[in-house]
């Protein structure tokens, strides 16, 4: 019996999907920064985060990939959309980007990228020991609640402070507006 794996080798499919994910990520990232309209930016950010979630699957972690989808695409992008809806649309984008500023920004980022890539290629990356391959969510949970317990609790505290602070700062704007 012929299966589809006889015609197309699975490794080729895996590689093809990987490069498609890279394309999705990079095109989303460009869409997140270049257009002047904010809604397009948020959509590009969601697309880029989706691609990165797929790439995390190739890095062996389903848990982090799902968290990426939930937190970035699900929570952060929706928060941005809410913030956009809370401010009137005529203030959002639509104005011409300054060409001079754009050229300077492009120059800065290209120089940074070249420096980073030269550094990355010149360095000899070698693993210290045999790489571990224990990727289960169970192990991750145990590590989070034992070795990184303090960091875990601190992140929870930071999130609580951020939520309360967000409410307070937004109310600050209201009280000043009424004066």
């Amino acid at each position: 019996m012929n299966t589809i794996a006889d015609f197309i080798p699975p490794i080729l499919v895996a590689q093809g999907i990987f490069w498609i994910l890279v394309l999705i990520t990079l095109s989303g990232a460009v869409m997140a920064v270049v257009p002047a309209k904010i809604v397009h930016n948020v959509l590009g950010l969601a697309q880029s985060m989706f691609g990165v979630a797929g790439i995390y699957l190739y890095l062996g972690s389903q848990f982090v990939s799902m968290m990426q989808l939930l937190i970035y695409v699900g929570a952060i992008c929706v928060t941005y959309i809410f913030a956009i809806m809370l401010s009137p649309p005529m203030e959002l984008g639509g104005e011409k980007p300054v060409l001079f500023k754009m050229v300077l920004a492009l120059l800065t980022s290209v120089v940074t990228f070249i420096a980073l890539v030269v550094m990355l290629i010149k360095t000899q990356w070698a693993p210290l020991a045999a790489p571990g391959r224990d990727w289960t969510a169970k192990t991750l949970g145990q590590v989070l609640l034992t070795r990184y317990f303090l960091v875990f609790e601190l992140i929870s505290l930071v999130l609580v402070v951020a939520i309360i602070g967000a409410i307070m700062v937004t109310n600050l704007g209201v009280s000043r507006e009424r004066k």
């Binding site: 401010s87 203030e91 300054v98």
Partner: protein
């Protein structure tokens, strides 16, 4: 697909696109979106190094999760500041907000 360099260069690309957006964009929300891209580049790097170099596979994942938590907190705070700024100045273009005393 099987080498560390691919992932790390992808992370560097995300980082640099984020820097470009941060410098080029004119509104506060656009700059925040670019910041998310920068944080994602960092998270991708942490995952790649954890996958290819670390002897303990959970370290990279834990760091990426922490980066996500920090990013969520940062987005909440920064968006609320942005809404407060908008209510105060009725503008979110960074060039228009030049008055410091509240």
């Amino acid at each position: 697909m099987e080498s560390l360099l691919t992932y790390v260069i992808l992370g560097a690309l995300l980082f640099c696109i984020g820097i470009f957006g941060l410098l080029q964009h004119n509104s506060l929300i656009g700059m925040l979106i670019a910041t998310e891209l920068i944080l994602n580049g960092a998270g991708l790097n942490a995952m790649a190094f954890g996958f290819f170099l670390s002897s303990d596979a959970t370290i990279g994942q834990a760091f990426t999760l922490f980066i996500m938590g920090i990013a969520a907190a940062e987005a909440a705070i920064a968006l609320s500041i942005m809404i407060a700024v908008f209510r105060r100045f009725h503008d979110i273009r960074v060039d228009a907000i030049s008055q410091l005393k509240g």
